[in-house]
Amino acid sequence: MKYFTIILTLFALPVSANVEITGNVAAKCIIQTTKSGAYGNPIASKLSTTPADGGVLPIIRYDVSIADSYTANITHPTAFSSSPSLSDTVAWTGSTSVTQTSVSGMSAYEAAKTVVGNTTIFDLTLAGSTWFSTASSATYGSAKPFPGGTYTSVVQASCIAK
């Protein structure tokens, strides 16, 4: 009985073991919608996201974990995704700019950007976060007033592996 008690005590002793925690940092891109844009209507024939026109610029944040793995391709709208019936043409303009960066070297993205049609391409050569804002403006044909209603357009924010 005495030996049995000793054996049981040995089993009850705390056992320590090393538990490993492993992690892997791989190339990854996250697109965040920091702020949805809104159209201002400074004059009857114009809708614009520019703050001076009463609009709100949409802001998109890109986070990349590994440098030089992705490009940010941001396309400003050239049509309404929903609107009242429009009988005349709409003239569209737009642009995308870097507004904030987490690493100082990213400020060079703005000068190095390329514009193809309505898409602005930024080469994300550094790891970290970059904020982009997209201005969009629509002017109704022959300076006619836009019909009353809701107007929505879509900014396409793409993160493409290089």
Binding site: C29, I31, I160
Partner: protein, 128 residues
């Protein structure tokens, strides 16, 4: 440099409304079907206003390439992570380059700009 890393990690941790797809350079594996390969992907949705993502496969010139997956439009809840497999014919693998997921935006009753996010992985390997 150290401060930059700390700020970056803090910003990363506060990601609230985001679209994430991994891996960037997926491994092409054999599937259970003859002459068909598979790619295993993972999608994370923390965009509260988005519930659906569309899967697309493109060549280098952004022309669609046929593929198969369980759901071409994946329903994914807020803060949910989903794994999905994409099946591609071996004969199409020479052309297939970009595997993308694109958020499907909902019609809105406010005058605004919506943001559609698209993340594309590359099937032709990491750049040298």
């Amino acid at each position: 440099m150290r401060n930059n890393i700390i700020i970056f990690l803090l910003l990363w941790a506060t990601a609230l409304s985001s679209h994430e797809m991994t891996p960037a350079y997926p491994e092409v594996k054999p599937s259970h079907v003859l002459d068909v390969v598979k790619v295993e992907m993972s999608l994370f949705n923390s965009r509260e206003e988005i519930q659906y993502y569309q899967v697309d496969l493109f060549d280098l010139n952004w022309t669609n390439i046929p593929f198969s997956t369980t759901y071409r439009i994946i329903k994914i809840a807020y803060k949910e992570k989903k794994a999905f497999n994409v099946y591609i014919r071996k004969s199409d693998m020479d052309e297939a380059v970009y595997l993308c997921t694109t958020s499907k935006v909902r019609k809105s009753n406010k005058s605004k700009t919506l943001i559609s996010s698209r993340i594309c992985s590359r099937l032709d390997g990491e750049p040298a």
